[in-house]
Amino acid sequence: MARGRRRRRQKLKLKLSALYTFALCSKGSSDDHSSRIGTTGFSRVVYVNEPSRHDEEGFRYPLNEVSTTKYNLVTFVPKSLFEQFRRVANFYFLVSGILALTPLAPYTAVSALLPLGVVIVATMAKEGIEDWRRKQQDNELNNRIVKVHIGNGHFEERKWKNIKVGDVIKVEKDSFFPSDLILLSSNYPDGICYVETMNLDGETNLKIKQALEETLHLEEDNGFVNFRQTIKCEDPNANLYSFIGTMEWKGKQYNLSPQQLLLRDSKLRNTDYIYGAVIFTGHDTKVMQNATDPPSKRSKIEMRMDKIVYVLLSSLLVIALLGSVFFGVWTKKDLRNGKMKRWYLRPDDTTVFYDPKRATLASFYHLLTALMLYSFFIPISLYISIEIVKILQALFINQDIKMYHEESDKPTHARTSNLNEELGQVDTILSDKTGTLTCNMMEFIKCSIAGIAYGQGVTEVEKAMALRKGAVSGAEIENMEYTDKKNDESPHIKGFNFKDPRIMDGNWTHEQNSDMIRDFFRLLAICHTCIPEVDEETRKVTYEAESPDEAAFVIAARELGFEFYHRAQSSIIVRERDPITNVVKDRKYELLNVLEFSSTRKRMSVIVKEPEGRILLFSKGADSVMFKRLAPTGRKFEEETKRHINEYSDSGLRTLVLAYRVLDDNEYMEFSEKFNTARTSLSADRDQKIEEAVESIEQDLLLLGATAVEDKLQKGVPECIDKLAQAGIKLWVLTGDKMETAINIGFACSLLRQGMTQIIVTLEAPDIIALEKNGDKESIARESKQRVMDQIEDGIKQIPSPSQSSRESFALIIDGKSLTYALEDDVKFKFLDLALKCASVICCRSSPKQKALVTRLVKHSHRVTLAIGDGANDVGMLQEADIGVGISGVEGMQAVMASDFAIAQFRFLERLLLVHGHWCYRRISGMICYFFYKNVTFGVTIFLYEAFASFSGKPAYNDWFLSLYNVLFASLPVVALGVFDQDVSSRLCLQYPGLYQEGVQNILFSWRRIIGWMLNGVMNAILIFFFCTTAFGLQAFRQNGQVADLNALGALMYTCVVWVVNCQMALSVNYFTIIQHIFIWGSIAAWYLFIVGFGALAPNLSTTAYMVFTEQLAPALSYWLMTLFVVVATLVPYFSYAAIQIRFFPMFHNKIQWKRYLGKAEDPEVARQLSSRHRTSSNQRMVGISARRDGKAMQITREADQELQG
């Protein structure tokens, strides 16, 4: 408290609201609000400072406790069970589990229900743990502390969850609002406060909120002693930007607007404290109302897996039906004319299940039995195993030290584990630009003052351009950088990368237009809306700015000797170093008006009065609006400046034009009067009047120059894009920037290069612009659409069909306005067609909605899309895409919250996709194939045995053998495969990006492969069954003459199955760590341990397995010989197939494995050869640094040819 007061004293009270032109002037604009209060949807009544009165009057408002958990103690069991049994396979197991309790069951109920129980409990435990984590997060929020008025002007700390509607609370600087509040007052006399809404919309700039004038004076704790108000307002809703309510106080009514509403999850900034009245709590708050469940995404592989389950289920049904028919026929034959055929079954005296007289019914019941029996075709543990595997995979992704960003201390975070394998199948990446490709860190790098260009820094883009032109080799670039660094003795100042001895360190005074230079920097120091913050100890000034550009300007001004030091109520203090006397002195500018920036105005201005009394209008804005506003006398340097601007934007810089104007007193008085009448007018056209007034003063400007700010490319972006391009992944850039900037960034990232044909779709044609001025909306739309159509069709014509081999590549660049038409239903597929044929696509000036629509459009072509972005404007795109990747960078958390994977830097995408994506894809697909293989093998042996047991439903195996197969003896190796297998090491994955195509083209999970695995399973089962039955069928299998009974044969067959599936696994594993060894051989050992242990139990427990191994099988040499024989004989076909395939029909990963084996994989020449051979036929690699190199080489040869011919 004391600290707060001290700070307050230090800071002069600001009442900026009087200055700002647009932001705050629209308060309480219309009166029709109050009329709606009390009607449906506007029924909330809040008694401020009397929270207990609501209960008394019968208003039931929820607590401020929020819960984002899916379950609670009561609902957990039923709800999570319901979730599980929605999966068709699990439902099938549930039904067969229930049926197992009836006499229909071919096995004992407990043996069937136990594995199901294990699987269900494991899944529930997983759900429970996840929910528990959410609960803990909620608890953390709910137990945050805030000060609440408890009466008599005393405020007490309370937990968030205990806040009630009607409480008056005090929120201090840099803390979050616990609920939706009505702002009553703040430490600023005009009741404004700054709010950061990063968690809501991802925007980092601060928003200004203002209390009603009537409540301003409540600035002390004891002001609330007898404070009573009634607020009536709308019911809870999800609209963040609207609010309707009235405040009744001291018999008067006042309208409330969004301007007074502080939302939960936003943060108080630059304001010491505020007082607010709680109106919405807990789940009533707007942010909670907004919380929708993110769309649940499932990977393509999982969808295909569901299909496999269906295929298996239906084939299961078919064989069950087949068996039932046979069973029915044979049962019917058992009793004919009173004569029993198989008399030992007593068909004359039987239950319905075997009754020859009711054979149809019996065979129907048998169908149910068979469905239960063949349930071993469907791996019961499939889903849980996959989930476990994916969680472990996600853990590996999170743990990857090479995807950890040291500067921001952010590791990669897989927010969902559902999509790991989808990462290996990405075909198209849709990327945001700002903050994703670029750092969103603006650096003041160049400027043009009075027609002279200053600034010697080399931009990333210029480096790339230099490379592109081939002017400098890579080594020289590095030198450039090196010298750069050497010169850079002073520590790097964030946001400032300007070097020019001509104007630095006060040298500007010696330049010829020194007064213009002075005005230029003054403008930079004054014309903005930043707020300085002085560190009390070091006296250093930092700035709080709405946009990084502005911060860069103020910092630049500071570094060049014009330190914006203090912002007071209506003045700005700039510390200027006098160049002649070299004395630092404060210059106080009286701030008269601020005409803020808006996207329609594209400029901002301030009007200030110099200490000397001159009134100045400083203005900065986009070139398109600024040049129009210059006075004829102010155009002296127009030509040069324009040229410089073009140069700057050519090198990917953001430019702004700076101009000023001197106002004489009369002129200003006139404006001021006009402006004030406009502001205070209550008529509907008020806004327009203000606009007119402002427009009139922002004329006849004198050009000072232009600034160039670099939007820095993130580290490693061009290299990463090159790798992704080599992997055959297409990159589309969707940006809100203007076309020139976008194209520049495109060049910088090597998405565009020389020799690439640019197909530009735009509506910036003069005739269209002319038409727009006429303003007939319909004809504009019609004409524009036609234009877009034509341009798209032209583009398609330019591109040769794939049959004509051409090395030419194309880039499509389309602007937002055209995109609106291109995304209309009748055009969009043509647009898509064109876009897919182009090597790179850049959409500029696109809105968040368009980004999402483009993503949806690409999804139409059944390609896996990955969207990557960092801002709130990318949320739609991230949610729409198959995979959303959020950059956990400087912008808000919104994108990360909506994403599936969060990475700190764009370049990590390379490793995420090429290494983890590829591995996960191959692991999951291998794992699923193997899962079905092992169950088909097992199931077919059961089925074949049925055929020899007159389809009566008697399994060959003991009940527990059956049920433990999926749980114990064949489950862990496949999990190990899913978690650990790698075809090639991560380094080789990156070295051979072409490997990634295996996932994109889904080679490892094609139907051919899946069916191949299943057929392998069927074949294995047939071999096992016939080998075992032939060997152990009739004769004695031991020296002392005993024959094998059902138990012995079953155990033998089971032994063989366990051996075969595990050895098959050992054969197909590419990467044998100790873990695989433990799991594979451990599973086999587990079987022997089990059969010994289980067989030693009392016979009433072990039933048919009693002593079967120790007494019957183990002493028999033939048993061991059979095991050896069956395992080898069954696997010989697969082994031969694999040997031929890897040698004569190697897949790409096989080739790399060969290279690695030969020790040649590291050889860059071999790598280049291998990769280039692999891409010859596809025209994928048209972008990226390497493509540029290849393109250049081609160009040189072509030129040489021409020279020869000429």
Binding site: R342, D400, A1036, S1118, R1143, H1174
Partner: protein, 348 residues
């Protein structure tokens, strides 16, 4: 190249580790978490493939030879008697077998093809008999067989659980239908004793069939199935029953009947005096009498030996074929013209 640069730089840059950040979220390095565990990365090189095939061949062929020899050493006499033991002019075999008044005695003469060393195992072989039918397999009560006090525990034995109001011991279809043909052997006009001891599994005798459980009320129902049991001998000694109750896996099966501890010489003739009681005629099942010696491998079964020989031979052949393939089509390992995915559009 670039990837490495990008990758390593992230580790190297940063705040230089001068002041180790507290609570850093940097993942801890371990070979496990970075998925760099030492591993064997097998690849099927020609050397490997050929040596595996040769190895399998080298192991399998001798095993096959030994097994085959063992199997060939076994002497087996199989005699089908179900048809032969019905008087030739019987039209309705079923009526014949079901008629308890007719004597079912029958004499068969067997010639010993080779010397047979004791012990000689006597089996009966039934055909088309579904001992593995689910109804049949389930129709027994293990608790009752084991425990004298649980005699009434016959719930699983339908329809042979109760006769004349009291529980049947042993109950169930299996016991009820126990095989009841009997064999007597005469060799050189001397009776060959058939040793019927220890023809069942020891664990069955000791743990599954109680020594204090006696047959009770057995075969007293309206239908007589098979063998009757002496109510004075405990179940644990009723070895025929125990053997029978070990249900066979397949519809054609042999079961041990007894052992003969006399050597037989080649050309000897054995007269079998059998009682043809068991009804296999209703389901047209064959009945066979089998006399067989055994070796370490068990009975006469060429399959194992042949199978081993076949697979061993196949492996030799494959080793040869692969050697040829590798020689004829040596693939230069830089030859990557084969674009696996461009060839199979089915991959989509």
């Amino acid at each position: 190249m670039n990837g490495q640069a990008a990758g390593s730089s992230s580790g190297g840059s940063g705040d230089g580790g001068a002041a180790p950040r507290r609570n850093t979220r940097k993942p801890k390095y371990s070979k496990f978490t970075q998925q760099e565990l030492p591993a064997c990365k097998p690849i099927l090189t020609p050397k490997w493939v050929i040596s595996v095939f040769v190895l399998v061949g080298v192991i399998f062929v001798p095993i096959g030879l030994v097994s085959l020899m063992a199997s060939r050493k076994v002497v087996e006499i199989v005699d089908r008697y179900d048809d032969a033991c019905v008087p030739p002019n019987t039209t309705d075999k079923l009526a014949y077998i079901q008629n308890p008044t007719i004597s079912k005695n029958c004499t068969r003469t067997l010639t010993v093809p080779k010397d047979m060393d004791a012990p000689i195992f006597v089996y009966y072989q039934l055909d088309n008999f579904y001992q593995n039918h689910r109804r049949y397999v389930k129709s027994r009560s293990d608790t009752q067989l084991r425990d004298a006090s649980k005699a009434n525990d016959t719930s699983t034995c339908d329809p042979e659980s109760v006769a004349n109001g009291t529980a049947i011991v042993p109950c169930g279809l299996i016991a009820w239908s126990t095989f009841n043909d009997t064999y007597g052997f005469v060799h050189n006009s001397k009776n060959l004793t058939v040793d019927k001891k220890d023809i069942s599994w020891k664990s069955d005798r000791e743990h599954k069939f109680g020594s204090d459980v006696f047959p009770k009320n057995f075969q007293k129902g309206p239908l007589i199935g098979g063998k009757t049991l002496d109510p004075n001998i405990p179940l644990s000694q009723q070895e025929d029953l125990i053997v029978w109750m070990r249900t066979a896996a397949l519809p054609t099966f042999r079961k041990l009947y007894g052992r003969i501890h006399t050597d037989l010489k080649k050309g000897d003739s054995i007269t079998v005096a059998l009682e043809n009681n068991y009804n296999t005629y209703s389901f047209s099942g064959k009945k066979k009498l089998v006399l067989s010696t055994s070796t370490w491998l068990g009975g006469k079964n060429d399959f194992l030996g042949l199978a081993y020989l076949t697979v061993g031979g196949l492996c030799f052949f494959l080793a040869f074929a692969f050697t040829l393939l590798y020689l004829i089509k040596p693939r230069k390992l830089g030859d990557n013209n084969y674009l696996s995915w461009n060839r199979n559009p089915a991959g989509r």
